[in-house]
Amino acid sequence: MSGEEFVPLSLTPLLIGTFAAIACALPGNFLVLRKQALIGDAISHVVLPGIVVAFLLTGTISTWPMILGAAGAAVVAVVLIEAVRRLGQIEAGAAMGVVFTTMFAAGVLLLEQTDTSTVHLDVEHALYGNLESLIWLDAVGWSSVLDPVALAGLPPELPRIALTLLGVSVFVWLFWRPLKISTFDEGFARTIGVRTGVLGMALVITAAIAAVAAFDAVGSIIVIAMFICPPAAARMMTNRLETQIAWSIIFAILSAVSGYVLAGYGPLWLGAADAVSAAGMIATMSGLILAFAALWGPCRTRAGAPGPA
C-alpha cells in the first residue's frame, strides 16, 4: 500500500484508535485491580444524556459543549451512584445498575423528544462512533507529516486524544507510588499519609476524562473494552504492576491496529466489497487477546490463593 493512500485515509484513524486504546487501558489497570472495572461501563452509558443535554442547551453539535456535557454527566453519575449506595445501603453493583440505566433511558427519551433530524446525533453513533470517517484529506503522502499546511487540516480528534493520553500518562507517572500502594493495600496507604479517598476519586475522574475524550472519537464500545480487556489480559501475564502496565499498552496497541486493519481490509481479502465497523472489530480483537491470555498466560490462575468453592 502506498503512502498516498495510507496517510490520508488510514493513518489518522489508526493513530486515534491507538491513542484512545492506550488512554483507556492505563487507568483501566488500576480500575481492574481495585475491582472498579465497571465504572467504565457506567460512564460510557451516561455520556449519552450528557451530550443530549449539551445539545439542547447550545443547539449545535460542537465539540467542547459536548465534551463538557459528557464530563458533567459522568460526574453526576459518580455522585449519584455514591448517594444511592450510601442513602439506600445498597450494594455498589446494584446502585450502579440503577443509576446508569436510568440516565441512559433519560438520554434516549430526550433524544426522541428533541428534533435532531437536522444534525447527526443518534444512539448508534454514540455506541460505536465513526472511526473510519476521521480521515485527513489534506495529506498527500508521507511528506505531509512534516508539512505545516497539511497538518493544519488534521482531524481535531487526533490532537485532542493525544493530549488526553499525555494527561493520563502524566497523572499515572506523578501519582505512581501512592496509586500503587493504595491499590494493593489501602489501609497501609492511609497510615503512611496517602489520602486514599481523594486519590480514588481522582483516578475515577481521570478515567472519566479518558472515556469522554475517547468516546468523542471512537464511540463507547471501545471505551468499555479498552478499560477492561487489555489490563485483564496483562494481569494473566505477570505479577508485577510495572510489567502489567507495559503488557496492557502492548495489548491495547495490538488490538487497535489489528482491529482497524481487519475491519478495513479483512472483508476485502475475503472477497467482500465493504468494510465492517472498526470500533466493533477493535473490541473483538481485544477479546481474542484476552481469551488467549486466559488460556495460556503464565500467571492466569490465582497464585497462592485457594480456588473458589
Binding site: 444511592v84 453493583g93 465493504d274
Partner: protein, 401 residues
Amino acid sequence: MLWDALTLQLGYNATLVAIGATLLGISAGVTGTFLFLRKRALVSDAISHATLPGVCLGFMVLVALGGDGRNLIGLLAGSAVSAWVGLLCMNWLTRHTRLAEDAAIGAILSVFFGLGIVLLTVIQTMGVGRQAGLEGFLLGSTAGMLWADALVIAIGGAATLLLVMIIRRPMTMVAFDPEYAAARGLPVHRIDLAMMGLVMAVTVVGLKIVGLILIVALLIIPPVTARFWTDRSDRVVLLAGLAGGLAGYLGAAMSASAPNLPTGPIIVLVSFGFFALSLLLAPVRGVLAAILRQLRFQRRVHIRQGLLALAQGQKIYEPLTLRLLRRTGLARADGVATDTGKARAAKALRDEKRWEIVRADQMQEATAALYDGLRDIETVLTHDQIAEIDRQIGGPQEVPA
C-alpha cells in the same frame, strides 16, 4: 388520552404492548430479585449485551436459509444461544482465572457487543433490504408488534415465572448463604447457572419491548425498590414482581398516549420513579425515616443532658436544648426548671447515680453493658433491684444552689 391508554382503549397494538410489558415487568422483577440478593446484579448487563451477536447470526442464518430474517422466534433463539455462550465464558473466566467478577462482566459485555456491531455492519452490507429493525433490538421497538410476537413474549414470561416459582427455595438459600447451601448438598454452581439461565430468558423475552441495553434496568431496579419495604425474601420477590409489572404497564400506557415517547426508556423511568419514592419514603430503610429517627434521637439526648444540667444547677447555653425543654414544659424561657422539670431532673440525676453503681458492680456486667446514657433503668432492672441500689445511695440530698 392517558386514561384511554391505561384502560387499554387505545387500539390493538397499544393493548398488546401493554400486556406484554406488564408480563415482562413481573417476570423481570421476580427473577432479578435472586440476582440482586446474590449480589450479582450487573451480571445481567453482560448477559443482555451478549445477545447482540446472536440476534445478528440468527438473522444471517434465517436469510441464508431463504426465510424471512425478521422471524422473532429465530432471532430470539439466536440471542439465547449467544447469551448462553457469553454466560459460560464469564463463569469460566471467574472460576478458572484470577479475574474478579466485575472484570469478567466488563470483558464479556464489551467484546460480545463489539462482535455484534461488526456483524450488524456485515448485515448492512449484505445487500438484503430486510435488515431494517435489527437496530430496534438495541433499544426496543414496539411500533410494529404482531400478535405472534406478543404471544412469544407472554409465553416466555409466564414460563420464566413458573420456573422461578419451582426453584425459588434453593435459589434463595444460595443467595443468602452459598456455603451453607453447599453443606446441605445443594449443587450451588448449577443453581447459580440456573439463575443466570432465567435471567437470560427474561433478557431474550424483553429484547423486543425494551431492548438489550435497558432490560438490565428492569432486572435491577424493581428488586432494589422492593428491598426497601421488607426484610423477608418472599415478600421482596412479590413486591419486585408487583413493582416491575406496574412499571411495565404504566410505562407502556404512557408511551402509547403521546408521540415520541419510546416504550423502553419510559418503562425504565417509571420504574426509577418507584425506586426514588421508596428511597425517600420507605418505613425503616427510607431516607425520611432515617432523618426522623435521627431527629428523635437528638431530641432525647438533648432533653436528657438538659435535665442533668438542671439537676446539678448548671446553666444551659445550648439553644436547642433550651428550646426543647421549654417546648416540653420542663423549663421556662430563662432556663429555670418548672416543677415538672425539677422532678424529672431529680429523677434523671438519681438514675445516673443508680447506673453508676450498676456499672461499678462486676456482678451486673451484662446489665451495665446496656448503659448508653439514655436508657431508663426501670426497663432493665426490677423494682427490688432498684430499691437495693437506692439503699446504697441513701435518701434525697439538697441540690447545691
